[in-house]
């Protein structure tokens, strides 16, 4: 009989799950606030996806300086070490248990064994997962050479391996465009970027990559099929109409590699298991203005909360989650006289947080459904209006509401984006 692995017991005020920017910022803040904190990450290194994002574009708000992903991560890691935050890498969280408000258990495995950690609060910052080819309806042969953008990025920018020579990229969001540049720079031929929507998904500065490297962009098109023997040899592309339905117009592109960059989904499986309520629009938990989920004492930040395009906001969410954990532990819970519900109005696809106390200022994070120009962002219940020259689904809008403004609402706030 196999011996049972030894279960070691540990005890902390707060356990942070995930050592990306959200988790690192949370752990640093928690330590600064005097909490006894443990940070866990399943990778062999800290930083989450940042160490593989070697392009500049990180930290303009948070560090007031433009950094690459690894530089941003190393700054946070340095702070973490200076403060003596306890952390473990190669530590994979298997399960969370919620016994009572101040008694929770996190079970993780590491090369040294299985651990059971008792904790008062949990900050969940496990990031997001990528959509795979089969999730966006691509069929065909089971072949090598199909990667998600993140897999291709890890191969190239962590391990130094070029995944292929002739590449088709699905999705023109920032991630897809940045990968197009990486492949082109390393001498691969990027044969096309295929975008389902009638407009490119990424920021203008990243759309410029296509011009820099003469990469064709097919808007209103989708990849539907992959063929090859052992390895990708060609992919079938179909044009779609205004309703995104396939037209008969189709063609094949020869390529040995297909990279799927079709969006991220918050990783919330372990939260769902303990009954945390999920918002189908964000894909992340329903939270109050302390980023607390529907299970008291479980807080969430970063891409597990909602998909962020700026790491600065991710770090900001991590810090807030840590402050909230401190408040939760000190008061034995997060209380409010009332909770104002945040509702999605016209052209708002998703928004978080979902409930506001009016006891503190908050940042609302939202995305529109369609691009629009010359708009007004309005919250009729409190008479708030804000002019915006352009809004795009690719660019998250961050809106600050002051406590006094929130107090003016009785039960709900409706956020809408309408023509000015």
């Amino acid at each position: 009989m196999e011996p049972m692995p030894q279960i070691s017991m540990l005890s902390y005020d707060v356990v942070v799950i995930g050592g990306g920017p959200a988790g690192m910022a949370a752990a640093v803040k928690a330590k600064e606030l005097g909490l006894n904190v443990l940070l866990l990450d399943e990778n062999d290194y800290l930083g989450g996806i940042l160490p593989q994002c070697i392009h500049p574009g990180f930290g303009l708000h948070y560090f007031k300086e433009e950094l690459t992903g690894p530089e941003f991560a190393s700054r946070l890691a340095k702070r973490l070490v200076e403060l003596g935050v306890e952390y473990r890498t190669a530590a994979r969280v298997l399960e969370i248990k919620n016994y009572s408000d101040l008694e929770k258990v996190v079970i993780f495995t590491s090369p040294a064994g299985v651990y059971q950690v008792w904790t008062k609060a949990i900050i969940y910052a496990a990031g997001a997962r990528e959509r795979h080819a089969f999730e966006i309806g691509i069929v065909g042969d089971r072949v090598a050479g199909i990667y998600t953008a993140g897999e291709a990025q890890t191969l190239m920018d962590i391990y130094g391996i070029l995944p292929g020579k002739e590449v088709v990229i699905v999705g023109s969001g920032d991630v897809g465009l940045i990968m197009a540049r990486r492949f082109a720079l390393e001498g691969a031929k990027v044969k096309a970027v295929i975008e389902l929507m009638p407009y490119p998904g990424g920021l203008a500065r990243n759309v410029m990559i296509l011009r820099d490297f003469n990469i064709p962009l097919y808007l209103s098109h989708k990849v539907v099929e992959v063929r090859g023997r052992g390895r990708v040899q060609r992919v079938k592309v179909v044009r779609v109409d205004e309703n995104l339905n396939e037209t008969g117009e189709e063609f094949w592109i020869e390529a040995d590699t297909l990279v799927i960059s079709a969006g991220l989904i918050p990783s919330v499986k372990k939260l769902k298991k303990i009954g945390v309520e999920i918002d189908p629009a964000t894909g992340g938990p329903v939270v109050n203005d302390r980023l607390e989920t529907s299970v008291p004492g479980i807080f969430v930040a970063g891409n597990s909360l909602l998909i962020n395009d700026l790491v600065d906001y991710v770090a900001e969410q991590g810090e807030l989650a840590a402050e909230s954990a401190k408040e939760f532990i000190e008061k034995g819970g997060i209380e409010s006289r009332k909770w104002v519900k945040v509702r999605k109005g016209q052209n708002v696809r998703l928004i978080a947080p979902h409930y506001l106390s009016g006891d503190r200022d908050v940042y609302l994070y939202l995305r529109v459904a369609r691009p629009m120009e010359n708009v007004e962002l309005r919250i009729p219940e409190i008479g708030k209006k804000l002019r915006l020259p352009v809004v795009k689904p690719a660019e998250m809008i961050r809106l600050k509401l002051r406590a006094e403004e929130i107090q003016k609402a009785s039960e709900k706030l409706t956020v809408e984006v309408v023509r000015a």
């Binding site: 062999d44 290194y45 160490p51 070697i54 690459t68 720079l185 203008a204 820099d212």
Partner: protein, 114 residues
């Protein structure tokens, strides 16, 4: 010849057009502010980019370190620079911010340590 750009200097993203003849700028339209005009002219006459890549490293926790150029490089020189970078090999320890090589007076800086 007219060059069209979406300005990337601020989130407004104005559509700017630069009219050129024989390497001379004849006119710029579509910008809302002088910063956008300056950027567009630079983009037509002397486009430059910060370049990033990875370089193999021996004896580190990961097999590569990531690097970037300390300043933007003229666009037409990028393929040449990439060839230079492809030949580099480093040895741990490498620190973030360390200058690991120099190419035509441009410093190559490590952005991930090893």
């Amino acid at each position: 010849m007219i060059y069209r750009f979406t300005c990337i200097v601020c989130p407004l993203g104005c559509s700017i057009e630069v009219e050129m003849e024989n390497g001379e700028v004849l006119g710029v339209t579509g910008h809302t502010c002088p910063r956008g005009m300056e950027w567009a002219i630079e983009e037509v006459t002397n486009p430059r980019r910060v370049v990033m890549s990875v370089v193999p490293v021996e004896g580190g926790a990961l097999p590569t370190v990531s690097v970037k150029t300390a300043e933007p490089v003229p666009k037409e020189k990028i393929p040449e620079l990439m060839k230079f970078l492809a030949k580099l090999k480093l040895k741990a320890p490498v620190n973030v911010g360390q200058v690991v090589a120099e190419w035509e007076g441009i410093k190559i800086v490590a952005t991930r340590g090893a």
